[in-house]
């Protein structure tokens, strides 16, 4: 919708064509962009999606839509369209719920909030002024400090608003600095939050806490690290989930169009790095922070299908070696080579995307790698180098795809997911020569290595495209302002 409105603002009249199921979403986006009466033309979703596979099948859909398309282009604007009403600001006053007793008041509160779509479908803790005040004791940061704005509607995230949602999630005040840092990561200007907030793709988030605060607040980083039963893990993730709903003003099938929903929708993949068993300094050190710091890393990751969480090996049933699991990692990441042949400028094919990879090593695996002489940095460099494809091994289709990828990146004007960042273009150009090797991961920084899980444990892999609307889908932020823990102050 933003593109349509850009053109309208430049004085060009047009229409936005969309399937009927997305009309509500499009109208909502039109309001967000200040042009509520932009012309929408819908085609029946049941007829479009299946028939677009061939020109023959989809032609009747186009024929049926033609009169409406032409009408939308030439019919003069109605007075209502030409002079849309100014949009009112939503009043966000405190809410009062009255009932005969405490139990009924709690029921009524939940009915109201969940009915208003101010929750995640599970019962909530009422954010009374007293509870929010208590939550705010967890941070020295002022309640009205603005952390950023939340896509898609750019709701303002203040420390107080985050605290309100943290109360609702059932979090403790000592978790608040972690939740604020996670939101800082997601709201960073470079982080592409818009895409995972609205897309039909059902991606989700990974939230990893590194450094001493994780242990201090009782986060699980051992057996069951992604599961239920750990208040810190579960409510930190849930608080972020509620912030994304309430501060971004999103709702499933209204403007969050994830077709299958987002995996682990209530808590996301929230866990801590297992520093007790890790042979290396915390992950955030490779991001330039000090070992004694505490940080949160947020990352958009796939939910289902090829992008789903992968187990590379480990566990208590099958025998494994460090080398065998490393081999599985290299094989899986190396499989992204498929993108070369699939790449075609102007075609949004997710098989043609080079992805970032988050590898969560279980402790025994990390110790084994250390014994083999790897550091976190040398391991990611090893995976980056090993998965590069020698120029001489590329077939004609792959060569065409990589060349087109490089050319499209130079020309620009396409989705960032299908482009190389400018600083990586020379690397690919150099690789396209005899003796060169084409990377399947854009940069070694796109291989992110964490250590978590128990003994025994599994080595896991999560992946996702680097970005779409902005250049990053991965950020690490320092936890600061904590008042109730020794770490994160």
């Amino acid at each position: 919708m933003s593109g349509t409105i850009r053109l309208e603002k430049l004085g060009k009249p047009g229409i936005f064509v969309i399937t009927a199921n997305f009309a509500h979403d499009a109208r909502s986006a039109a309001r967000d962009h200040g042009m509520p009466t932009v012309r929408l033309i819908t085609v029946p979703d049941a007829e479009y999606y299946e028939n677009r596979i061939s020109a023959e099948k989809v032609r009747p859909v186009a024929e049926k839509a033609m009169d409406t398309i032409i009408d939308g282009l030439i019919r003069p604007l109605t007075p209502e369209e030409a002079k849309p009403k100014a949009m009112a600001k939503e009043i966000l006053a405190p809410v009062e719920v009255t009932a005969d007793d405490d139990a009924l008041a709690l029921e009524k509160f939940n009915d109201l909030f969940l009915g208003n779509r101010w929750g995640d479908g599970l019962p909530l803790i009422p954010p009374t002024p007293e509870r929010v005040r208590r939550m705010l004791t967890g941070t020295s940061r002022p309640p009205h400090e603005v952390i950023g704005t939340v896509a898609p509607k750019n709701g303002i995230a203040t420390v107080e608003k985050i605290a309100i949602n943290a109360v609702m999630a059932g979090a403790k005040p000592e978790y608040l600095p972690v939740i604020i840092a996670a939101m800082e990561g997601l709201l960073d200007k470079e982080y592409d939050l818009m895409h995972p907030q609205i897309s039909t793709g059902s991606f989700t988030f990974l939230i990893a806490v590194t450094g001493p605060i994780a242990k201090e607040i009782g986060m699980n980083s051992g057996i069951g690290l992604l599961g239920h039963g750990w208040r810190a893990n579960n409510t930190i993730g849930r608080a972020v989930r509620l912030c994304l709903i309430n501060l971004g003003h999103t709702w499933p099938a209204v403007n969050d169009m994830a077709l299958d929903g987002r995996a682990v929708p209530h808590t996301f993949y929230t866990f801590a790095e297992n520093q007790d068993y890790s042979p290396w300094k915390p992950y955030h050190v490779v991001q330039g922070y000090k070992p004694e710091d505490s940080c949160v890393t947020v990352s958009t990751v796939g939910s289902y299908g090829r992008g789903a969480l992968t187990a590379y090996g480990g566990g208590a049933v099958q025998a494994w070696t460090t080398e065998s699991i490393l081999g599985n990692i290299v094989k899986d990441i190396g499989g992204d080579r498929r993108a070369f042949a699939h790449y075609k400028r102007g075609v949004a094919d997710y098989d043609s995307v080079l992805r970032k990879h988050i590898i969560v090593l279980h402790p025994e695996m990390a110790m084994g790698l250390k014994r083999l002489g790897y550091t976190r940095e040398s391991l990611r460099q090893y995976i980056y180098e090993t998965t590069r494809v020698p120029y001489e091994q590329l077939d004609q289709q792959e060569l065409r795809g990589v060349r087109e990828f490089v050319d499209a990146s130079i020309a620009g004007g396409i989705r960032l997911a299908f482009m190389l960042p400018q600083d990586r273009i020379p690397v690919f150009q150099e690789a396209l020569k005899p003796g060169g090797k084409v990377p399947v991961v854009v940069s070694p920084e796109d291989i992110i290595i964490l250590v978590a899980g128990g003994i025994p444990g599994n080595t896991l892999g999560a992946k996702f495209q680097r970005a779409l609307y902005t250049w990053s889908s991965h950020k690490t932020k320092l936890i600061r302002g904590a008042t109730l823990t020794q770490a994160g102050r």
């Binding site: 282009l73 849309p84 009932a99 909030f113 303002i156």
Partner: protein
């Protein structure tokens, strides 16, 4: 006699007081008893500054002889639909020129400025 009257009066007043007190606590069901708990909660929604409202551009009156842009974000199968739209437009408006452009869902400022210079009107699709 006076003592007895006072005694009866005090007993009546006490009795009425006790009855009133009891009525207040009897379970007469919803609507009878006064609500006794008010829960005040803070609003969890993020404040939004409403954008300035703008109107769409005035329409062209006819497509004959016009340059019509079709912008598409590249999702698979879409070109089959837009090829048909292009063909049908040309059939109805043989003097119109159709320009096909591909790019991200949001065309972006630079490409929008370029396209706006090239067309009189446009059709914009993003596949869902």
């Amino acid at each position: 006699m006076e003592m007895k009257r006072r005694w009866i009066w005090s007993l009546t007043v006490t009795g009425v007081f006790v009855v009133v007190l009891l009525i207040g606590h009897l379970p007469f069901g919803e609507g009878w008893a006064e609500a006794s708990v008010t829960l005040k909660v803070l609003n969890p929604r993020g404040e939004i500054e409403p954008p300035q409202t703008l109107a769409p551009a005035p329409r062209v009156t006819d497509l004959a002889g016009k340059k019509i842009g079709i912008y598409w974000n590249g999702k698979q199968g879409g070109p089959n639909f837009w090829n048909a739209v292009e063909e049908l437009l040309k059939k109805r408006f043989p003097t119109a020129t159709i320009l096909r452009r591909y790019g991200p869902a949001d065309i972006g400022a630079a490409s929008a400025t370029k396209l706006a210079k090239e067309v009189d009107t446009f059709i914009y699709g993003v596949g869902d």
